[in-house]
Symmetry: C2
Amino acid sequence: MPGRYAIGVDLGGTKIATGITDLSGNMVARRFVATDAASGEAVVIARIMRSIHDIIKEAKVSNEEVAGIGICCPGPLNPETGVVIFAPNLGWNHVPIVAHIVEEFGIPTYLENDANAAALAEKWFGAGRDVQSLLYVTVSTGVGGGIILNGDIYRGRNHMAGEIGHAIVQPEGGERCGCGQYGCLETIASGTAIGRRAREVVQAGGGQRMLELAGSSEAITARTVADAAADGDADAKAVLERAFLYLGTFIVNMLNVLNVEKIVIGGGVSKLGESLFVPVRRVVDDKMSDVPAKYTPIVPAETGDSVGILGAVGLVVKAEVRVG
Amino acid sequence: MPGRYAIGVDLGGTKIATGITDLSGNMVARRFVATDAASGEAVVIARIMRSIHDIIKEAKVSNEEVAGIGICCPGPLNPETGVVIFAPNLGWNHVPIVAHIVEEFGIPTYLENDANAAALAEKWFGAGRDVQSLLYVTVSTGVGGGIILNGDIYRGRNHMAGEIGHAIVQPEGGERCGCGQYGCLETIASGTAIGRRAREVVQAGGGQRMLELAGSSEAITARTVADAAADGDADAKAVLERAFLYLGTFIVNMLNVLNVEKIVIGGGVSKLGESLFVPVRRVVDDKMSDVPAKYTPIVPAETGDSVGILGAVGLVVKAEVRVG
C-alpha cells in the first residue's frame, strides 16, 4: 500500500526530532537524538539520515510506503530549492539538505522554516483544522509567526512572510533586539523579555513573590512571573500585563491587516494558558472597534511538543492532497 | 465587438466620478457629478444610473460593447453579494447597489471598497503593473490600505483585510482616533494628523514659517508643513519626521509580515513626493535588518485622480481575464 505514511524531521540546534505518522498525522513512532551541531555539517546530516533510517525500521514500513519526508528548521531557507541558506544554530551555510535526503532515500522531500511548518501543523492536525486561514504565533525564547491563507503556507516574495518577531512595536525608544534593531515585538513579548524585565524589577527591590518562587533573581522565568502574578504579586502582574498589551495590540493589527479566521498561539510561553490568553483577548476586546474581525477566535496551539514533526509531516500531506 | 469597454464608478461622499475605458485602462470619457447624499438614497442611485447612461452615450458605444461595470465606495460592503452594508458619508445602510445597476443595464457589475479598488488600479494600470503582490497605502485625510496577492485583491475572512489605518502604533498613550480607539496609525500619519499637530505647534508659538505660508494657523495643511520644512523650519521638519517615522515603521512591519513585491503609496499626502518618500525609505533602511524584504521598492502611486475609476475598471478587467 504505497504512500500511507509520512516522515517529519524537526531539526533544531540541540536535538533532531523525527516522527513517522499516517497521513492523518497519527504518530506511529518518534525518536530524538542530539543534533551535535558542534561536530559540523557532515555529522548533523549523517544523524538526520540515521534517524530517518531508524524510524522507518522501527515503524516496520518499506520506503515505498512512505509518501514523503518533510524537514523543518529555523530559516532563512529556500523551500523551492530545498536549501538551508543560513542556520546560525547549526553553523550551516547553503546546505542542500533536500537533495541529500532524496539521494539517500529516493523519497519526495520538502523543506520549510519552523514557524511556517508550525502554522501548517496547526492547520492540518491542530487548532486550525476547521479553517482555511490563520496566523500562528509562537511565543517562546523569541516570537515567530506563520501565515496560512487558502489552506496553505503564505510565504511571500522571499519566503519571509510572517516574520512577526521583528515587527517594531516601539518606533521611539524600545530595547535593543538580538537582530540589532530596537523595539521589536520579541524585545517585549517573548519569554526571554518577560524574564529579563522581571529580573530587573526584582533587582530594583520589587516583585518579592517572584524572588521567593524562583530562589534567586537569575532563576526567574516567564513561568515564575505568571505564578507570582497568580499569587497576587502586583509587580509580576505589571510585567505580564505590559508584555501582553504589546502582544495583544500586535494581534489587533494582524486582525486588521490579515483578517484571518483564527489566531493560534503556541510556544513555551503559551503554556501559561489563561495567564496569557485572558489578557491578550482583553486587549483585543479593548483595542478593536466593533467590526467582524474583532470576533476572531484566539486559541492555544494543540500540537504541543510534536509541532515540528507534525509541521514537517504537513508538508508531505499537503503535497499528497495536491497530487490526489 | 462585444466587451471592448469597461465602466468604472467611483462613488464618494461629495462626488460621483464615472469613466469608461478600454480593457487596458485607457480613458475614453470621464464625468463628474455631485453625489447629493443629503437628498437620500434614491437620488444618489438615480445619479449613478444617469452617469452610466451618459457616459455610454458620450463614448458612443452600445451596452453590448461594455464588458462590465465596476463600482467602488468606502466600506464596509460585501463584494460577493454586491451590497453596501454601511456608508456613513452616503447615509446608506444595506443598499444592494449591484442588483440595482444590473437591473438597469443588464451588464455584469462588481463592487469593491475604495482602498482595495485603488490597490487593484495600481496593480493593473499603475505602479504595480510588473508585480503580482503589493501593499497599497493611501495617506490622505485618513490612512487606508489594500493588499494584492497572487495578482488579485486579498480580502480576508470578512472582506476587512488591509485595514491599516486602524492598526495601533502606540499601544500606550496615543491620541484618540475617529474610530474611538487610541494610537491608530491615522492619528499620527494622516494628512489630518499632520495638519493638526502642526497647528498645535504654531499655536504654542513655534513653526513660524508654517504660519507665514498659511496665513493663519487654521489654514495649515500637510502641504504647508512640507513647504515650511523645505524652507528650513525645524518645527515643521519635526512634525513631518514624526508622522513618517510611524508610517515608515508600519511599512517595516508590513514588509516583515506580508513580504510583498512592492509598496505603493497614494492619496493626497503622497503628492508631497520626496518630502514623504525620502524619510519613509530612510526609516525602512534604518529599522530593518539586512534581509531581502528590506529591499522592496516603495514607490508613488501612478493612477492619480483616476484611481477610483480605474480601480472599478480593474474589477471588470480581472473578471474578464478570469473568463478569458
